[in-house]
Every structure is written in C-alpha cells, then in structure tokens.
C-alpha cells in the first residue's frame, strides 16, 4: 500500500510540476529567430492572379468626399441681340455687364466594388454658381438674359466609373454621367430641373500600365465639357519620374497637370482643366411676338488654368487651394425649339446657328476645399 501510494504521489507530483511548467502563460515570450534570406526561395500554396492597379505611384489623392467653395473675380459679359448667328459670324455685341460668381461644390466618389480584378465607383456632384452682376438700364435682351442667370446656375450629376484590369499590364476604363444643369433653384416656385433635359456623357479608354510609374491610354468621349455635345478622342498619360519628385496627370483635352511632390503630404499641381455643360434656362421671359421660347440652353464652357496646392491636414483629411484664371471658352445660347426641344450635335464643324452669341472675358478665381481622400 505504501509503495503504491508513493508511486501514485510521485506520478501526481511529476504531473503537476509538468503542468506548471507548460500550461502557464509565458510572460517573457521570445519569438523564434529567423534567417531572412530563407524567404528568397518560396513556392505557392494559394493561387491568385496578378492584376494591374488603377493607380501609379504618387498620384494626387483620390477624393471620396469633397466640399469646396469657388469664388471668381469680375468678368465682362458681352451679349448680342436675339438672332441667328453662325459659329464664325462677326457679331455685334453692343451690351455688356460685369459679372462674377461664387458657390459651393460638393462631390462624392464612393467605391461600390473595389478589388484587384474590378473597381466600380459611383459618384455624384452638386455645383452652384451664384451670379452677381451690375445690370444696365434699358438694355433689352441683355437684361432679360441676365435675369435668367440671376438665380444662379446649378449643376447636379450622377456618375459611375468602372476600371477593369486585363491582366497585369492592360486595362479598360468606362465612365458614364447623367447631368442636370440649369438656372433652377430649390425651394422657389420656379421650374426645373426637368428630367427631360438630362444630358448624358461618357468616356471609354483602353490603356496600359507598364510599370508602377506610368499609365497611359487612348479612348473616345461623348462630352459636354465644351458647352455642347461633342465626340472627341481622349489621351490619358499619368506619369511619375524615377526620382519620385514630379509627374504628370493628363486626360487630354479635358485636363493636363504637371505635378510636383513636396513630400508625402504636400503636393502642387500646375495646369488646366476644361469644365462645362449645357444649362437649361427655365422660366424665360422672352415674351414678344417674334421671340417666345422656353427652350433656351446656355452652352457654358471654361478653361481653368490654375495652381493647385493640396495638403494633408490630419489622417485622410486633406485641404485643397486653387488659384488661377478662368478663360471662358463658350457662353453662347441655343434655342432648341427648332429641333423639337431635342439637343443636337454641332461639333467643331457644324454651322447650325446660335440664338445668342455672347462672350465672357477671363476672370481670376480661387477655390478652397476640404476632402476625405485615399492615397
């Protein structure tokens, strides 16, 4: 009995000692050491395909959300009378006013699907231009036109972008947009926007990404950036130099920028961007026997030449400051009554006439924005 008990006690004693030694949490955990050169030679266990990335090194940050405020200096608006003006006609513009505008710009770009093999983003925008102007006395059509613009110009859009990599080096981009542009305001008794006046545009690009610092592509675009419907080829060229200090962000003819990286949190871009659209003029007051229409569209387009400074404030919040000049490319007006209120294609070579042939002189501008970004 004593021997048996001793054996049992010994077994229990050894067992408990072992339990203490091995099941207690080790508070001085020391990681197993390793020779890093062993990671040179590996083999796959899992299987994945490699796809080209939608970005290259050091591109300016992608904005998920952007809230900005846009202010311009004065420009001189010279207007013709109501008429029928071909694009190349010499036009008498006897009436003029100074005008400037300001307003908020709100944009969102949300990734619905964002994976290596497919990226789908959906976005929207809301831009307002509130006009301030000195109207002339006894200026007839000119003043009526300014009245149409006095509530400001609003642009709303919904857009979607698809990026599809075709293997490791090639890709496709498809972008579609529906816009509602016009002199409408919300909350007033005025008309607009009307879904019948929605403008549709899109761009398709096939491109290559040969390495991490270059991405280029060729494509076709249906666009209203020049103020009216147009079909144009596009050329994309995003590049970062080997020293990682400078690069380009080009989507010609819509925009072209030279980029300078001060550091990972401060960048400067210099270049231009073409902005524009066709704005419906609602509730027009042109009521006379010769000219009575509710189908006017302002073909507005501007080239914004600018210096753009972007800086990280904290985390993913960046601020943007733009300063430059707006070169107004188009401020003409079409009457769509003659085409049964349907938009039409004039392009660069059409000679359909404008109802108003106007010009707006260059004006300085400043834009401040707060952005939620991803790099």
């Amino acid at each position: 009995m004593t021997v048996v008990f001793k054996r049992f006690a010994l077994t229990l004693f050894v067992s408990s000692f072992a339990a203490l030694g091995f099941s207690q949490i080790d508070s001085s955990y020391v990681e197993e050491e390793e020779d890093y050169s062993m990671y040179d030679d590996v083999e796959d266990v899992g299987e994945i395909k490699t796809y080209c990335s939608p970005k290259i090194f050091d591109l300016s940050p992608n904005r998920f959300l952007s809230l900005g405020y846009d202010v311009t200096g004065n420009g001189t608006l010279k207007t013709s009378n109501v008429g029928a003006y071909k694009p190349d006609d010499n036009v008498a513009r006897n009436d003029q006013s100074d005008l400037n505008y300001h307003g908020i710009r709100l944009n969102a770009n949300i990734p619905v699907i964002s994976k290596s093999k497919f990226v789908w983003q959906v976005g929207g925008g809301f831009n307002q231009s509130k006009l301030a102007t000195n109207q002339m006395a006894n200026a007839g059509d000119h003043n009526l036109l300014l009245d149409e613009l006095s509530d400001g110009l609003t642009s709303m859009n919904l857009n979607t972008t698809l990026f599809k990599p075709l293997g490791e080096y090639n890709f496709l981009i498809l972008q579609l947009m529906a816009e509602q542009n016009g002199n409408y305001t919300f909350g007033s008794s005025g008309s607009g926007p009307d879904i019948k006046n929605t403008k549709y545009s899109g761009t398709a690009i096939w491109g290559k990404r040969p390495h991490d610092r270059l991405q280029w592509g060729l494509g076709l675009s249906r666009t209203y950036r020049a103020g009216e419907l147009n079909y144009i080829p596009v050329f994309m060229y995003n590049y970062t130099a080997e020293n990682r200090k400078w690069g380009t962000e080009i989507l010609f003819p819509a925009k072209a920028f030279y980029r300078r990286k001060i550091d990972a949190r401060n960048i400067v871009l210099v270049g231009y961007e073409l902005e524009g659209g066709s704005y419906r003029l609602y509730d027009t007051k042109f009521n006379d026997t010769e000219f009575n229409t509710q189908n006017l569209e302002l073909r507005r387009s501007e080239i914004r030449v600018r210096l753009d400074y972007q800086k990280q404030l904290k985390g993913f919040i960046w601020m943007g400051v733009q300063a430059g000049a707006i070169l107004n490319y188009s401020y003409t007006i079409d009457d769509l009554t003659t085409t049964s209120n349907k938009d039409f294609y004039r392009g660069f070579f059409g000679d359909q006439t404008y109802t108003f042939s106007n010009t707006l002189s260059p004006m300085p501008y400043v834009n401040l924005s707060l952005n939620l970004v991803s790099k």
Binding site: F22, E31, V42, Y51, I110, L372
Partner: protein
C-alpha cells in the same frame, strides 16, 4: 485499489500532457489559420503573420526591391508621418497590426494595415478562403476602401 490509483495517476498524466499540447482557444476556432507566410498580389513583398499575445501581426520579411533606388541603401519608412520614425527599415516592419479573430464572422478585424509607399495607415479587416486572404483596407467605413488578395506561400524545402 492498486488499479484505481494507477488509473488516477495515468489520467492525471494524460491531463497534463493534453494541457501541454493543447493550443489556446483561438486555434480551436480557426484564428491561427492565418499564421504563416503570405504574398500580396503585386508580388513586391512577403509578409509573415504571427501571433503576439492574443493578437495577430504581419511583418515584412522580404522585398522584391530591397534597396531604395535613390540612395542604394535598404528601404526605410521615409514617408512616415512622424519624422523621427523615417529611418525604420522596411524589412522587418510590422505593416499589419492588432488583428483579433472573430470566430462567428470568421474574420480578423480591428487591425490596421500600413502602406509604406504613401505613409498611410488604413483600418483593415481580413477574411480567408482556400489559402487566399482578402485584405480590405478602408478609411473610416468599410465602404470607403479597397480589397487586395494575398496568397499563402511556403519556403521551399532544401534537398
């Protein structure tokens, strides 16, 4: 009596052995399945995922281009927000941090992924299927993010 005592002793020994060999609870619910060597889809680095305490961390153990072309020296964390941390070498850098395994949703969450190229730190959630990881880095909410796939790799056995 002798047989009973022997039986109790044997059971005690067996219990001890099982305590020694048993893994913490998280292995039983799949958390440790993520441990090992992984390669992102761009093939530029290899990351070893390990466990410290109750959380999971991923350390860069190999770089396809280990030298900075500008300096010809081993790459460092030159884009770090904190100037004082810009000389930390990238090889050995913990780019995945603080992941906790949720057995119910079968995902590793609550962690972060660091992108040395931009010096940005993203919130992150990881899921796994068939030796492939879906690593989703995001800003604030999961909707504002991007998913990359990583494949499991292993060191070739030397003959």
């Amino acid at each position: 009596m002798k047989k009973i005592i022997t039986l109790i002793g044997t059971l005690a020994l067996l219990f001890t052995i099982s305590s020694f060999t048993s893994n913490p609870a998280s292995v039983q619910d799949g958390g440790d399945d993520i441990l090992g060597l992984w390669e992102p889809s761009n093939g530029k680095a290899r990351v070893k995922i390990e466990k410290i305490g109750s959380k999971y961390y991923g350390k860069i153990v190999w770089l396809r281009e280990p030298l900075d072309p500008a300096t010809q020296k081993p790459k460092v964390d030159k884009n770090n927000e904190d100037e004082k941390m810009r000389n930390v070498p990238l090889r050995g850098y913990r780019m995945l941090k603080d992941f906790v395994y949720d057995a119910e949703s079968k995902e590793w969450s609550g962690g972060t992924i660091y992108d040395p190229e931009s010096g940005s730190l993203y919130s992150c959630v990881v899921t796994m299927e068939n030796d492939v990881l879906d690593i989703r880095g995001y800003v604030g909410v999961k909707a504002l993010g991007r998913t990359d796939t990583w494949k499991r790799i292993k060191i070739k056995k030397k003959n």
